[in-house]
Symmetry: C2
Amino acid sequence: MKARVHVTLKTGVLDPQGKAIQHALAGLGFAGIEAVRQGKFIEIELRDSDPGEARRRVEAMCKDLLANPVIENYAIDIEAG
Amino acid sequence: MKARVHVTLKTGVLDPQGKAIQHALAGLGFAGIEAVRQGKFIEIELRDSDPGEARRRVEAMCKDLLANPVIENYAIDIEAG
């Protein structure tokens, strides 16, 4: 079973990495870019067979390690198979 | 218009960051984790109004800056609005 986790900065939290990308793109000649935000994308291959249990475990992983709940949001997608 | 870009390491490319997460999760007591891969997730807010044109431009951004096509794959989702 595969879990896909998106970890993104909360609205209002400064994202210097996103700003750096935005400026680099502008420097390369890409116009009309209003904002860039960079987050993390984590794919976890699990031995679990129950999707509900897998989601519960991945949620605990997010809270314990993958995300900083003070400044980051996380979203979990569970894909069977 | 918003573009969501996933940049992931190609299959076969070593992912030390993913391995570090996997070992840290095991150290925290999470069992049954077979693999972890970490990628990047980039959200770009564009002034474009044509989804096809937006996709073409974001594809150019991926090739020029966001991804290293030698070792990374990228996937683009365009969301109108």
